[in-house]
Symmetry: C2
């Protein structure tokens, strides 16, 4: 178990010390640490990387501070539409859902799609029917209600404006959560979940449920979870791009993550970040924005959460 | 204009001479030629690669023989849910839609998403709302009705069986259409469209609308449109995999397509095929199944359609 490693993120963007009160900063860090520990303890207890990334992402989904699960932002119709995906680096199996409403933990549903359906990607009402068939936990709409998110939505409701962020009108942040992990068995996995963009309409789907774009895992290369301007992450196939630079060019995990986020993605105008691990236990947390809610922990004693760059 | 090139496909699978009557074979070839010519004439008239792939795919969508647009198969609920995507290799702009009903030409809607929305991927009712907002052409359900498809659906209706194919119960075929092109300006583009799987349920989405999986275009490498066992194409990020082998390993277009379809995809159990072009006018039509409805044409006089291997 010497190499067990986990990293998490809670979104990236224009996150400056001035935009958080000391109380809020402490609250974010405390919840990041809890989510990090949830996955780490799973790994320490011999559970799989899939178990660990699911545990960490579910913890972030259950926290109203992050834009996923309970903390999901409002769509243009005042509802909450969530996307998520998960991938197992040992088997290359994957599961993803998009545009689902009412499911308490979209990451758990993604895993059920991966393990109990013939498919990789289910969307909308069909995905919700599958969730009911699998006895997934649902919550009423008031569970997803948050006064701050509601105020953010009311300020842009009825306009064509949408927000990539869940937190402040003045800021530009990408509300997504994710986790990547290496387990005692030498397998990696990745999980990503989001509540999308405030006031989004037309059934917009970002990169989070897209295997290869917002999420990817392969023992041969790495596990990656992204957060950022989703449209750019889709067009740049960001998560698989990192894996290909490792496989074909022989870059290290850190070199590949840096090349993709600080060069290739910026060239097409994309901003955001990603977290990644490989089977050697290397961890990379790379972003080209002012901040990224993040954390990392391993068996060598590394254990930290951070927000600003 | 010496290099203008176009290739199309109408799906791959267990397509044997014994499974087609001479009349049906002639009909398939005639419609493939029409679709090929629609795109080729656009290129010859100086239109863009995007114009050409849209024209060819729209022609295939309008033909009931192919599982896309008018010829879309039935879902488990007796409806037609279609997916499509388009990508411009010059700008890396892309548009995609999934799980839409009633839109006559999903490929046209994909292009509208690319050119007139802030997003890449719209799904379900929201995508249909955007289509109405853009004054897209809609058709009533009877437009999509086909007696053969209906019989195929009735034979599996109410069961958990689903069919990857649109054509014969005994065969295994992947009903998707696509086009890739190089225009006079030296730009490539790719377009893909599908009606999914007969009796599909739970809002299943395959690789066709996934940028990087079923569709990808980049002047720096190639344009690719896929058809096959969608879940495997998603997990293998097939279209972008071809591009990465060209970019990072220096493989030729033909070498890269062969490596992905005949080796990397087969290793994880996937079957199907793809079509690809690059900015030098090379064309590749690669598949690991018994047949693929396909065609290719260029300014050097190459002009052929084929079905079997």
């Amino acid at each position: 178990m010497s190499n067990i490693s986990i990293a998490i993120h809670g979104g990236a963007g224009t996150i400056l010390p001035s935009s958080l009160t000391p109380e809020l900063e402490r609250a974010y860090k405390a919840r990041l640490q809890e989510a990090l520990d949830a996955g780490y303890h799973a790994l320490k207890n011999g559970k799989t990387a899939i178990d660990a990334v699911e545990a960490s992402v579910a913890a972030l989904e259950d926290c109203p501070l992050f834009n996923a699960g309970k903390g999901s932002v409002f769509t243009s119709e005042g509802t909450h539409e969530m996307d998520a995906s998960i991938m197992d680096g040992a088997s290359l199996n994957a599961g993803a859902v998009s545009s689902i409403t009412g499911v308490k933990n979209p990451i758990q549903l993604s895993r059920l799609v991966m393990e109990h359906s013939d498919h990789v990607f289910l969307t909308g009402k069909g995905a919700e029917d599958f969730a009911r068939h699998m006895k997934c936990e649902f919550e009423e709409q008031d569970y997803f209600f948050d006064e701050l998110r509601h105020q953010q939505w009311l300020s842009v409701k009825g306009t064509d404006k949408f927000q990539l962020d869940h937190s402040s009108l003045a800021d530009k942040k990408f509300g997504t959560v994710g986790a990547v992990a290496l387990d005692q068995h030498g397998n990696v996995a990745a999980a990503t979940s989001t509540g999308g963009m405030t006031n989004k309409k037309y059934g917009r789907v970002g990169d989070s449920p897209m295997i290869g774009a917002g999420n990817y895992a392969n023992n041969a290369t790495c596990a990656v979870s992204c957060t950022g301007s989703g449209e750019y992450f889709i067009r740049a196939v960001v998560a698989y791009d990192v894996a290909c630079l490792i496989e074909h060019k022989g870059l290290t995990l850190q070199e590949a993550c840096k090349e993709v986020i600080q060069n290739r993605l910026i060239k097409i105008g994309g901003d955001g970040g990603l977290i990644a691990v490989d089977t050697s236990g290397n961890i990379s947390l790379e972003f080209n924005t002012e901040g990224m809610y993040r954390g990392r922990r391993n068996a060598q004693g590394l254990n930290e959460v951070a927000i600003f760059s």
